[in-house]
Symmetry: C2
Subunit: 364 residues, 2 copies
């Protein structure tokens, strides 16, 4: 961010008004985002200096040039991932769009075995958004970044007219280093591998849905939103034969496993009775006609690991907070390639497909 953190003196501010509509009050008295906050001029800088720089403070960010400059200590493989976040509502039980933006990108990096290091954040704000919302979201991003151990090194802020965006959209990009010896990809599942799930399904989807209102859901379910990079490090410390990882967000576990089965050209068989779903989530899904296998998660991962190391990896996962309920839910088979099968509680087997059409809009 090239915007300067220095607070201008009052009469300097006055003399700066040379162009465009006059800015009648200092920013601290304004309650809402106005178009001028996206001008790239003084108002943009004041907004950033007041709410983003103090929240994200770190040396590359404070340099305030057109790009952040970071030092990479060794050559090797870098993971790069991006995600746009347009969740509605922006605050929900267990999280908010800021925490989601940080964790979503941290988790995508961790899913290829990378150690997330640097994040960027591009904000699109709707004219009229309370500035207190910007502050709350920035603070939530700071907390999530600290929890995950990453730095938000660059940012950008734009403002769209009222009715041309919805409150706040955040696109985050993350960069991380992949330590030598790790080879995690959707193409690496092999017959005989064990499928591990880090916890119960559907918490995020139900929490957002309940908060969206109009549904009279009486539920205390919180989103599972959390950074997964420390869980992944614990897994690698226990065993290196982690072939595939994915966090089942939009589209749910069913979509993630279908992707993997197609990328690797294998079949994946799941045991329905072994897949954990909280009773309140199950009840909400039954009421609404949703299947937890398709519900979004934001703090869960599915891993496909060699059978020899599965127990060690599972034990390491269970020793962490986010992986306490980790369990084996199935196995990889040779055929039918590209298919996901579910062995149901009553002994039948049915095919599980990728999410078609739309289930829950703006879940992340």
């Amino acid at each position: 961010m090239k915007q300067k953190a220095n607070k201008p003196k009052r009469d300097e501010q006055k003399s700066m008004i040379v162009q465009g509509p006059v800015c009648p009050r200092p920013i601290e008295q304004r309650e809402v985002i106005v178009m001028g906050h996206g001008s790239g001029g003084k108002m943009t800088r004041d907004l950033i200096a007041r709410y983003f720089l103090p929240a994200f403070e770190n040396p590359p960010l404070m340099q305030e040039d057109d790009s952040a400059v970071v030092q990479l200590s060794e050559a090797g493989r870098l993971a790069i991932s991006t995600d746009g976040h347009i969740v509605d509502p922006i605050f929900f039980p267990g999280g908010d769009i800021g925490r989601l933006a940080v964790c979503g990108t941290v988790n995508d990096l961790a899913m290829v075995g990378a150690q997330p290091q640097w994040l960027t954040a591009s904000f699109i704000l709707e004219e009229g958004l309370p500035i207190s919302t910007v502050e709350r979201v920035a603070q939530s991003m700071r907390a999530a970044a600290e929890e995950a151990g990453v730095m938000i090194v660059a940012g950008d802020t734009k403002v769209a007219e009222r009715g041309k965006a919805d409150k706040i959209f955040i696109s985050t990009t993350g960069i991380g280093h992949i330590p030598k010896g790790r080879d995690v990809s959707g193409t690496n599942a092999r017959p005989g591998d064990v499928v591990i799930l880090s916890g119960s399904l559907g918490d995020h989807g139900v929490a957002v849905l309940a908060e969206r209102g109009g549904l009279a859901l009486e539920t205390t379910i919180k989103s599972d939103l959390a950074p997964l990079n420390k869980l992944v490090e614990a897994m690698f410390a226990a065993g290196s034969a982690i072939h595939v990882m994915r966090d089942p967000t939009r589209g749910g576990l069913a979509t993630s496993l279908n992707e993997i089965s197609q990328q690797s050209g294998v079949a994946i068989a799941l045991d329905e009775s072994s897949i954990p779903v909280r009773p309140a989530v199950k009840a909400a899904c039954e009421l609404l006609g949703f299947d937890p296998l398709y519900m979004a998660n934001e703090g869960k991962l599915v891993a496909i690991v060699s059978p020899e190391e599965a127990d060690k990896i599972l034990a390491a996962m269970r020793a962490t907070e986010v992986g306490a309920k980790a369990c084996s839910i199935g196995e990889v088979m040779e055929a039918p390639a590209g298919r996901v099968l579910l062995r149901t509680a009553i002994g039948a087997t049915r095919a599980i497909y990728m999410l078609a059409g739309e289930m829950l809009p703006r879940i992340c």
Copy 2:
């Protein structure tokens, strides 16, 4: 992108419909973006497989895991930059939002002396957007990426309800390597340095404004939108004493130079008569009451270089297409620190301040 490029067979597609509203027609017959294109399921994957993957095709992208994995050949400094693009209208003379998204981020990287390598793109689409628009924007991004010599290695697509976004927003993040020996920062301007501008001011701002309509501007001005990384390489080939570079986008040259003067604690003196502005841009600005010093540019840079190397660097710039009109426009002085002064054509000197308030909304 983890979305798979394989086109499913027709009856496979039919059997995939297990959740949510039925998708009655294959994607090629749909004319507009619907909410299902943001589901993260099959429709999202089909959209990406059809329009984004073929346009951006490269090995890290085609791996389709949660993150792209790239190989960094040597340790050292990396530049990281992000920008959100919400320009209105999305197509304008000389460019469009796709070309803008690529060039804007490439240029931010080049402004710290980096060689841009990898880009990510996060798309937020409005329900109802013609799919032909998505295709046109993706093709424009492909062309700009080829021109700049960068790869778009990761992406994300979300869909907001009609009236909750405006057609298409694109947030791009770029990563590039900074070769050893380059030290470019807004803090590096020194008294005696020469201020160089790569060409005429205000073309982008006037082009977008004219296209926005309702202004009855009869102008043939095109946006100057272009990647600047090859110009920067030509400059470094001619001289290494490039202390500061910045591309004067939102807020214009006046805002960029104020930022630099404050970061470096120096004064910058400009000669008004030496600052190139096309007659049509000048006329449009006079008509509308705008100052070209505050107009956005998308293919220009201002550089602050040592006086010993200024002529060599200028000559190298003039040998390129985008820098053909490069010229010296002023110099760095010790005092008054943090100020930008303009020596006008009639011999007076006036202070130039940072853009205050708002001038032209959604210019980039």
